[in-house]
Amino acid sequence: MVPTEAYVALSGVLFSIGAVGVLTRRSAIMIFLSVELMLNAANLALVAYAYHWAGTGALTGISGQTAVFIILSVAAAEVAIGLGILVAIFRNRASTDVNALAEVRL
């Protein structure tokens, strides 16, 4: 059996890659995709720790999984707003203009 620490370490790697994506990519949608990657890394860590706590006999193991469920809906809400902003910008401009605006320098 793979120890939960390995999963957490993997999630750390994925999370860091996502963070680098946020900092280096320039188009809004790519930044947003990187954020989704970070969220998923966090979910992996949560599930791994849920397993850990269940395995140590603590009663709260399952609540980690439940938190993932809630974070999924948070992500969905964010996606709704984020894509809404992008589309709103798109609607107000000619389609060729979007790239210029969607490029956000951080």
Binding site: I31, V35, M38, A48, S63, A67, I85, I89, A102
Partner: protein
Amino acid sequence: MTVPEGFIVWSVLAPALILFGFALLTLLLAVFQQDRGFLAGVALTGIAGAAVFAFHLLMEAQHGVAESGFGLRYLADAHASALTLVILLGTALAVLVGQGTLERMRLDHPEYFPLLLLSATGGVVMVSAGDLITLLLGLEILSLPVYVLAAWRSDLRQSQEAGLKYFLLGAFASALFIYGIALTYGAGGHFDYANLMAAFSASGFEANLVALLGGAFLLAGLGFKVALAPFHQWAPDVYTGAPTPVTTFMSVVVKTAAFGALLRIAATVFASLEPGVFGGLLPGVLVVLVGATLIVGNLGALLQPGVKRMLSYSAVAHAGYLGLAVLAAGDRGMAAAGFYLAAYTLMNAGVFAALTQVMDDDDRGDGIDRFAGLARSRPWLAAAMAVCLLSLAGIPPFAGFIGKVLVIQGAFGTGHGFLAALAILMSIVAVVYYARVVVAMYFREPSGAVRTQPSRSRPVGAAIAIAVIGTIVLGIAPGLWYTLLDRGQNLLVFVAAR
């Protein structure tokens, strides 16, 4: 599986529920009723209703009956109720400013009011949250409407960029925060503060590094929201790009909610971490961030030509002063921050409200030239602006001064004298850039090139009046508010530790 008895306590939710209910009401009414004044009235009624309940809870907390519900996942102690009141105050001021300016700025969308109320609901949840998941949800409910509002001006590229940038960095911050939740859960096995505290202070707790990393990520996530350097870079652009009424809301309510949450986490969960090998790392990081924020915010403000942008940087700088209170969160820092946030809400909302009267109809034109001679053309507006600016600069007898003394005393009490000295040094810099506006208003002749007749609006005037009177009253009789915070202090720790 049944819900344990006494688990659900509706009364603690009252302020949030009322706000949410009125958000829905304004949303429905907006379909039939296009009259902005009416919608604003409904929104203000909701805010007042929520304030009544929050005040009741605050009074109960004074008498030792701090309520909580959902198994300590939602707290209505002095800290939560007091900051709820501050959030409601900021929201009410933003409603007034919006009502008075949105029509003029041709931004007259009726969704403004429900979105503000929804956002405020999120803020109330944040300051009352007793566990990290509730806090996260509050944070999101707070943030999403603000993203929308920041991008409100469909005709102004600046505003849309502000919205997009704010959203992207907000989402990034949320991701950091969520990862922090995951690590904290990994270290403590719980999401609620009470159990986390118990786990962290239990003997034999060894997962220090995981807990510290969790704390660092939570700090970074909330640091983005309150614009602590180096997570502040979005703030000047977004505050400047967003429509000014929205900036009013953003700069006070978002900051209050995020600081409220940060203070509580710092005072409970991470205060119980044993020093251990990496002890002092978390406060150390915070010290660096606060110092950097003070420097970046104040020097940044000094270099800005536009007043709105200067105020945006000044909002960053004030996050630094509040950061001092977070360092002393376990001590008297929470009460100090509660006072500072109230003062900051009044004076900052006041200054932005006054700014809307000086800027022109498409929400542009914040050059210092516009303020030239304002003392002659609009003496009361100029005086109000001057009071708010002086208060922001920390000059007595205004509320900002008392706030500053409180946080600086807290910093000394926890041994951060050096940081306090830095804060004071930076305050001198701050006087220079605030004084520039005052000097323009009172000394410079109006230049013919710019329009010198600022607009007049009754609701904005009301907001400014509330802000100025509040700033003066809190400066002269700070005990009115500080006592409520200070007396609730013990209960707060008691609630968290129970």
